[in-house]
């Protein structure tokens, strides 16, 4: 039988979920390996400014600053007790071995248990002009501010549907940005209908309302129920064109766009490690099937936003919970701490995640109606320039049941360097809409190794 001291546990991701998981394992006497692609610990939401950057994080994070500091303090205390490997990409999992790469050098990490806490990425929906320089994801707009102390432009439009639209717009204004407009695609009526679903985390919901009130007071133009028509410009962004709920068209001049429709779990590694997936009709996405503690299959645990979108608090709680589950499975008997903490953590995680489901209703994804409205000439695949029309033509020409993996094989959409991270959700919507079938029936884009292109030492990198 395995003993705690000799058990090899690997954690992927040093965000709030991975840090809490590592802490819990270390407290039990394990020395987990923690790999993260980033240079610094913290993940996305609690990203630390890069070395030597004079950025006032307390001002930037406001009410979240205390949690940010607490997490980084925890990590500093924890670091000597774990095997932390920054700048290390996990790119494949195969039969009990994790494949990693650092500085172009590959290595293998055999494990007895794997805990994945890889976080999420922005979910985007194509609009004409979205490949122009100056269009960035909404999360990316926050990342470049925290990581590099830069804004994505001077005068920007925040476009899409996400609670982070107003948060990011406020943070940008704090640093002198001219926020030209916030264009939320969800009608106010739908937001109000979703309000009861936000009750599980009333404090967070109120914080969100506070952001809106501040933006309104500052006179930032805000529109809801908009339909984005195009991002315009010759070689870079010059304006956003959209339609208001009453049909009126507006054009707003700007030099940058922050663009997003919420987040999408990063699931490729979990898939390679053997997790099974189920369709979630609220998010209109496929997610890993897990038990309440984060078990995907024997020896495989998922926590944080890669398990289910839940935000930073859910990430911390689910990281601890998944690590306790791992310990319970190893030890064969339930310890005092597990008996005491696990029920509470399960309740917390469930509450945060049901709040996120409420948010997914309040900040709607354009879905099949949006997909039908995408013009044929709009690029869907940013990597290889495949258009919505190419997808529709392939579906019309192909006999037999429509499956996104077949569409991908024919058109190469989803096969490019991003591995479908950017186009995947919209590709599934377009395939379903074009074939008049429910989204769940056109299948799920399958992940492949390497989950991200390997940076082979820059001198030797192939074309």
């Amino acid at each position: 039988m395995m003993t705690l001291a000799t058990t090899r546990v690997v954690i992927i991701g040093a965000g709030p979920a991975g840090i809490r998981a590592a802490e819990t394992l270390a407290q039990a006497g394990l020395r987990p390996i923690l790999v993260d692609e980033g240079r610094l610990p913290g993940g996305q939401g609690y990203r630390r400014p890069s070395a030597g950057l004079a950025l006032d994080m307390d001002a930037l994070l406001g009410t979240q600053a205390a949690k940010y500091r607490a997490l980084h303090a925890r990590f500093a205390e924890l670091a000597p007790a774990i095997d932390y490997r920054p700048e290390t990409l996990a790119w494949a999992v195969h039969e009990g071995t994790l494949h990693v790469a650092r500085d172009g050098a590959a290595a293998t990490l055999p494990f007895d248990a794997l805990l994945i806490a890889a976080g999420a990425a922005d979910r985007v929906f194509p609009v004409k002009g979205w490949t122009l320089p100056g269009v960035f994801t909404l999360g990316g707009a926050q990342v470049i501010l925290k990581d590099q102390g830069c804004l994505i432009g001077r005068r920007m439009v925040f476009l899409g549907s996400s609670p982070l639209l107003s948060l990011a717009a406020l943070q940008y204004r704090q640093f002198g940005a001219d926020v030209a407009a916030i264009c939320d695609t969800t009608p106010l009526r739908e937001k109000l209908l979703a309000a009861p679903a936000l009750a599980p985390a009333a404090a967070t919901a109120l914080r969100g309302l506070g952001y809106l009130a501040r933006l309104r007071r500052d006179g930032v133009p805000m529109f809801s129920g908009t339909t984005p028509l195009a991002i315009e410009g010759r070689d870079h962004v010059e304006a956003v064109r959209f339609r208001l709920g009453d049909g009126e068209e507006r054009v707003i001049a700007c030099d940058a766009v922050a663009f997003g429709y919420g987040l999408k779990p990063e699931t490729q590694l979990a898939e390679l490690a053997g997790a099974r997936f189920g369709y979630d009709p609220v998010f209109r996405l496929w997610g890993p099937n897990l038990d309440a503690d984060g078990r995907a299959r024997p020896g495989l645990y998922l926590a944080g936003d890669c398990a289910a979108i839940g935000g930073a608090d859910a990430a911390e709680a689910s990281g601890t919970l998944a690590a306790l589950a791992l310990l319970a499975d190893l030890g064969g008997e339930v310890t005092h701490r597990e008996r005491r903490d696990m029920p509470r953590l399960r309740r917390e995680v469930a509450r945060y995640r049901s709040f996120q489901k409420g948010l997914a209703r309040a900040f709607a994804w354009p879905g099949s109606r949006g997909a039908t409205a995408i013009a044929d000439e709009v690029e869907l695949c940013r990597c290889e320039n495949v258009t919505a029309g190419d997808i529709r033509a392939a579906i019309a020409a192909d006999l037999g049941p429509v499956d996104v993996n077949r569409v991908k094989a024919i058109t190469r959409c989803g096969m490019g360097r991003c591995q479908g991270r950017m186009c995947g959700p919209a590709l599934q919507e377009i395939a379903a809409a074009a074939s008049a079938r429910p989204l769940a029936e056109v299948g799920r884009l399958r992940g492949q190794a390497p989950v991200k292109p390997l940076a082979i030492g820059s001198a030797a990198a192939p074309a």
Partner: protein, 104 residues
């Protein structure tokens, strides 16, 4: 060589709003010498001075990255030496020679 102060006013895509205290280094972008600071990402160094990182291999449209977090792979730039790097996650190094159009 331009100074860091130019970035604040400059005419690049990105606007720098917090200064860096790191070591000053020099890189070239399309043959032009530019001042950067250790800790700058290649993407930030290029886009505080200009508006594009590369041209897409499929049709040649200008690109300047998108996700800024290593997920979309839209920011791989050419080095004059023939290699390619992911600009949003790679830091500048002294003497780095970057090219933002065509291929070497």
């Amino acid at each position: 060589m331009t100074s860091a102060g130019d970035d604040l006013a400059g005419n690049g895509q990105l606007m720098r709003v917090a200064q860096r205290t790191g070591k000053r280094i020099s890189i070239t972008i399309d043959g032009r010498e530019i001042g950067a600071t250790a800790g700058d990402s290649v993407l930030a160094a290029v886009l505080t001075h200009g508006r594009q990182l590369r041209e897409l291999e499929f049709g040649g449209s200008p690109r300047a990255g998108f996700c800024l977090m290593g997920a979309c792979q839209d920011c791989w730039v050419w080095l004059e030496t023939g290699g390619r790097i992911r600009a949003c996650t790679t830091l500048v190094a002294d003497g780095m020679a970057i090219r933002t159009s065509g291929s070497p």
